[in-house]
Subunit: 216 residues, 2 copies
């Protein structure tokens, strides 16, 4: 119901509010939260409207209450069951992240096709054979799958996930995946992020730096 961009920012707000809370801040103004995310106060207020909380013109918003309400919007009350496919460096990074994150993130399986990795325990999760993927999905139920395989394996895995009924996918493989309209797909494109910044930096320095030639 809340627009995607708002959902993204709510995830950010939540993390920052948790920090603020542990630092003893009980109340926060929209412009303070805005500064933390390098956004505008108006946008913060708009986002919080979406959550349904209401602030106070003298004290701003109550951090505690804000967190409770954002949780309600973002999290499924019974948690999110997750599978991860591809236990390489990136897959391990995700497992490690999810391990310590919060209790409503539930990893129900980590899969790889490398015999050497199967049955190994990585950050507390036992690696399974990718041949068992459908069986685990069928028995545990899965809300979101993380694809951290090499590019050439990603679409095939994606198809299997969709066929098995998974309706949310986070794709770390550097290829665009194709999914039916009823599946939510989020691309995390490391390659593009790097190339994009490189390009933008270069564009910004054109003219003041190396003038296209003229050195040695």
């Amino acid at each position: 119901m809340a627009p995607e961009k708002t959902v993204e920012r709510l995830c950010l707000y939540r993390r920052l509010l948790k920090t603020a809370l542990t630092e003893g801040e009980t109340n926060i103004f929209s412009h303070e939260l805005a500064e933390l995310v390098s956004g505008s106060a108006a946008q913060v207020r708009r986002d919080l409207m979406e959550v349904g909380v209401t602030g106070h013109s003298k004290r701003g918003y109550e951090v505690d209450h804000l967190l409770t309400e954002i949780d309600k919007v973002l999290d499924a009350p019974h948690g999110t069951r997750i599978v991860l496919i591809g236990v390489g460096d990136l897959g391990r990074a995700m497992l490690r992240f999810m391990k310590g994150y919060h209790e409503r993130i539930k990893v129900v399986g980590a899969f790889d096709n490398d015999e050497a990795k199967i049955e190994r325990v990585v950050h507390g999760f036992r690696c399974k054979s990718v041949t068992d993927l459908e069986a685990v999905i069928a028995s545990s139920g899965v809300d979101v799958a993380i694809i951290s395989t090499p590019a050439d394996a990603a679409q095939a895995i994606c198809d299997r996930l969709v066929a098995a009924g998974v309706r949310g996918i986070v794709n770390f493989a550097p290829v665009p995946l194709h999914v039916p309209g009823n599946v939510k797909l989020e691309r995390v494109d490391i390659a593009t992020a790097l190339e994009k910044v490189a390009c933008l930096v270069r564009q910004a320095t054109v003219g003041c730096n190396v003038p296209e030639e003229a050195n040695d």
Copy 2:
């Protein structure tokens, strides 16, 4: 000069065009490229206009030529010099990715503050002490830095990078960083991606699935 969104898509096009080229495709229509990225043909044509290439109404675009021109827009002719800070799982994933990627990506340093990692070779790069960060930047010159440290170290590292003259930063740490306006910052937010998909999937299934209670 090209809008950021266009730059992002150009990165994607380039990767897909390379694949197409190795598969022997010499020409491609805007609607074909659009399908590969799940975009629209009009957008592809618009993006390619920005690059300055021109197509042919019977044969579409020449893949070969397209790649050459996109390279010119995206890449600095002398390459992009990169440092990476934080050789954890995520840092290793990035090193591994950059190792095999292409010749214009030049990693000039990988840093960590863990004594156990320093001097170790990771995916072909020797890990350095983070105390040497400024020295390496000063001697090698650095275009883009990748921050893959834990969240609590990220802002301090970021400040040091900016002070040392780095003008492009890719941030993998799950905190928003603050940089001056002349620094390009790209956030790759793994935590948000995961939480966002979880939320969207849940929103989509509300009503048809667990009706907020009603099971034991």
